[in-house]
Amino acid sequence: MPPGYRNVNKRLNDLLSTSQSKSYFVGAVTVVFIVIMAMVGILPAYSAFTFQNEENAKRDEVIAKLTTKLQISQTLSKEYDSKIDVVNYFKEIFPDNPDQNGIITLLNDIALSNSSFLSKLSFNKNPSVLFAQSGYEEQIKSQQVSITVEGSQSALQNIVNDIESSRRMLNILNFTLDRKTAEDIATQDGISHGEYVLNVQMEYYYYTNLTSTDTL
């Protein structure tokens, strides 16, 4: 055994020869052990545990939000499918394109249902000044349409009402309800379409789709 080692051994034995020194030694070793274990074992594990716990709490929030969104999407999807008729009707009355044929049919039907005669109908592709000044979003477009209808006073009043209440969204810009003169009636060659004339200038709207997909 090397002499140095024997000296250390002897010194250690001398140090631990009494109960007092042995008590101090055991106490010191215990404290050192606790400190080292706390620093390299307990504290890092605890801080990692608490950090991961906080991260898990954030994950729980994300899961809750995603679950809610998924439920809403599923509910909306079911409702959309169950009310597809309503959706299609809505797109019919507020279509993607001008649909002038639809407007002609609608106005003609309104005139016929009120026993009146649609004598003139014309389109103007330019939107009205009122529309241009209203500041609507880009997707909303409009066209103007002018009609002349002949019929009785009450019938033409009803036509105004039918135009205003049409779900097809016909907005009356101006109208004139005029009683024909005797000369006007006389020049109709026996064909009478009523004593009154209604001239209406209105505009209708359509909704163009965005070109890019808009998602959350």
């Binding site: 009494t18 109960s19 007092q20 008590s23 055991v26 106490g27 070793v29 215990t30 052990f33 606790i34 274990m37 706390a38 074992g41 307990i42 594990a45 545990f49 991961q52 716990n53 991260e55 898990n56 994950r59 729980d60 899961i63 995603l66 679950t67 969104k69 998924l70 999407s73 909306l76 999807s77 959309y80 959706v87 809505f90 797109k91 507020f94 609507y136 979003e137 997707q139 909303i140 006073q153 009043q157 105004v160 009402n161 205003e164 209440s165 969204m169 907005n171 009356i172 810009l173 101006n174 109208f175 309800l177 005029d178 009683r179 003169t181 909704y207 789709n209 808009d214 998602t215 959350l216």
Partner: protein, 189 residues
């Protein structure tokens, strides 16, 4: 010289423990407990870390699953819902800004006492013009009734022209101009 062997069967008498002997025994016992507890704490800490890490992985998988399910709705369905939402909002706005003349028209004609007269009713935005040819008392009556109606905020006779022979008959051509109090549509039901 022969050595005598002595057998001592008595338990050796130890000297009485001193204060430090007792202290040493106590410290040794307590130190064992402390070290054991410390090691148990370390074990618990690492076990807890393993548990939360496992939970984190499970939650990450759940998030990935939810996102993949939502991916379908985001690309296929959400654009449809958004389109309907925007379209509906635009429709309601257009509807509310639309004009409504039916009640006013009915009201004006209800005040016309002579249905056979020459009459032209013109409306544009919130302004209604009534061009007619009638008895002056009827014109006055019409003006009074329109002024009394809550449908009109102002009413005035813009033009009143009578020719010489019409003065005797108290008839003439008139233009009544009325401003509508409200000509917008009501909200959609």
């Amino acid at each position: 010289m022969e050595q005598n062997r002595i057998f001592n069967l008595l338990k050796p008498v130890q000297p009485p423990p001193t204060f430090w002997d007792k202290t040493y025994d106590w410290v040794l016992g307590k130190a064992r407990v402390v070290i054991l507890v410390t090691e148990l704490l370390i074990v618990f800490a690492f076990v807890a870390k393993v548990i939360v890490d496992t939970q984190a992985r499970a939650k990450d998988e759940e998030i990935a699953t939810l996102k993949s399910e939502l991916g379908f709705y985001a690309t296929q369905r959400e654009p449809l819902f958004r389109d309907i939402q925007r379209r509906d909002s635009a429709y309601q706005r257009l509807w509310k800004n639309g004009a409504h003349y039916k009640e006013v028209l009915d009201e004006i004609y209800s005040y016309i006492q002579n249905p056979g007269i020459q009459l032209t009713v013109t409306a544009e935005k919130n302004r209604v013009s009534i061009l007619g040819y009638d008895d002056l008392s009827a014109v006055q009556n019409l003006e009074t009734q329109l002024k009394a109606s809550p449908s009109f905020s102002s009413v005035f006779v813009d033009t009143l022209s009578l020719e010489q022979k019409e003065i005797l008959q108290s008839t003439g051509q008139y233009v009544l101009v009325a401003t509508l109090a409200d000509y917008k549509r009501e909200d959609l039901n």
